[in-house]
């Protein structure tokens, strides 16, 4: 069973929900931090990292002795990562998605691919939690290949049908799609503000398109307005949990202490959340 935790809007409490959910599940679980641009779940889960390896994407390398500057590679590159000038070919590695089309279609056979490291996968353990995250190198824009590598690692290690919790990056773009793909359920964490609502609506559209069942967790639930509640009621989206705006919660967070450790009464809330999701999945 794969449960992903996404949001639309950033800073709503995805990592808080994902890590505390993980810490409230008693069986062996996998935790994947797919927010590879800014992974932070390890701060709360403090796993012992046992393994680290680089992840690369193939980028084009031009053999100028074979190139006749026909411009074919720049025409077919969907990401505009190449420019063919009179006597030069420019490669912009940070725009390259590593699809390989340019080298495959070069009429002169002048393009070969070299590997470029974009980041690292780290894997480790904390108690019953098997932890895997990706660290995208600073300046890199291509998160999806690294997210795929994190999920591949998880797949390789997944021995029996156990629970996987995925901390998803914010937004609704490619890294989010890559992270939530194949989830059995997605928790959307939001806040009761116009911004939270706007981005929640975008995230809901995304998940409907992907046909992934979902429910909402409202963080800082006693602030803001009724917009999110009204929307969820109208759309018949279950509100699974409300986390209030409390100084103790913020204070524990700022010290890297998980909510369920600082305020143990929340453990039952997260256990209940897990049970509700399991029930939801078995119904669909």
């Amino acid at each position: 069973m794969i449960i992903s935790v996404a949001s639309g809007k950033g800073g709503t409490g995805k990592t808080t929900v994902a890590t505390n959910l993980a810490l409230s599940i008693e069986n062996n679980i996998q935790f994947l931090d797919c927010d590879v641009e800014e992974p932070n779940a390890h701060i709360f889960l403090t796993p012992r990292i046992k393994e680290k390896y680089p992840v690369s994407i193939p980028i084009p390398q031009i053999d100028l002795s074979k190139c006749n500057f026909c411009g074919r590679c720049a025409q077919i590159c969907a990401y505009n990562a190449l420019a063919v000038l009179k006597d030069k070919v420019l490669v912009f590695p940070e725009l390259c998605h590593g699809c390989g089309a340019c080298s495959y279609l070069c009429p002169q056979g002048a393009i070969k691919e070299t590997n470029k490291v974009i980041g690292y996968v780290e894997a480790g353990q904390r108690g019953n939690i098997e932890f895997i995250h990706g660290l995208l190198n600073i300046g890199e824009a291509m998160a999806p290949p690294l997210i795929r590598a994190v999920k591949k690692k998880a797949q390789e290690q997944r021995s029996m049908p156990l629970t996987t919790v995925i901390d998803v990056p914010p937004g609704t773009s490619c890294p989010v799609i890559e992270s939530v793909k194949n989830s059995d359920f997605c928790i959307l964490v939001t806040e009761p503000t116009p911004f939270g609502l706007n981005d929640l609506m975008l995230a809901v559209q995304t998940l409907k398109e992907l046909k992934i069942p979902f429910g909402v967790v409202i963080n800082r639930s006693d602030l803001g307005d009724k917009g999110v509640d009204d929307y969820c009621r109208k759309e018949q989206i279950p509100v699974l949990l409300r986390i209030p705006f409390k100084k103790e919660i913020a204070s524990a967070y700022s010290k890297g202490i998980p909510l369920v450790e600082a305020l143990p009464q929340y453990k039952s809330e997260f256990k209940h959340l897990f049970a509700t999701i399991k029930c939801n999945i078995s119904q669909t």
Binding site: G71, A74, Y79, N80, A83, V84, L85, K86, L90, F92
Partner: protein, 124 residues
């Protein structure tokens, strides 16, 4: 000689578009005869690499100098490698920009003037 002015419209009376990679039109003009071609920018709303595409287009069209508001780092790198002159900080009407260029009022730019994706935030 051909120069290019980034433009919000398709003629010499249009206003200069301050963005290079994501401008609405490229007005490619001979400053002496004022004969021009208006090329609609195909990359206005691509995800990334608009400046590179625009730089590539300048090379393909044989443009020698670009007059615009701002250029980003990738556009600058492409234009510079292609040997295309870059003049930034241009505003007003396209025809005025061409006139001022002919009078030698403009100075070329030493580096990118904005960060990447600047043109997306500008709207339009």
């Amino acid at each position: 000689m051909k120069i290019c002015v980034t433009s919000q419209g398709d003629n010499l009376g249009s206003l200069v578009d301050p963005r290079f990679g994501r401008c609405q039109y490229f007005i490619i003009v001979d400053p002496d005869t004022l004969e021009f071609e208006a090329v609609r920018n195909p990359s206005v709303s691509v995800g990334g690499g608009a400046g590179i595409q625009a730089g590539q287009l300048m090379t393909n069209k044989g443009v020698e100098v670009v007059l615009t508001g701002n250029v980003g780092p990738n556009a600058f790198a492409t234009l510079q490698a292609a040997g295309v002159g870059i003049i930034t900080g241009i505003s007003g009407k396209v025809c005025e920009a061409v006139e001022n260029y002919k009078k030698g009022k403009h100075q070329s730019t030493g580096g990118p003037t904005v960060n990447r994706h600047f043109g997306i935030k500008e709207g339009g």
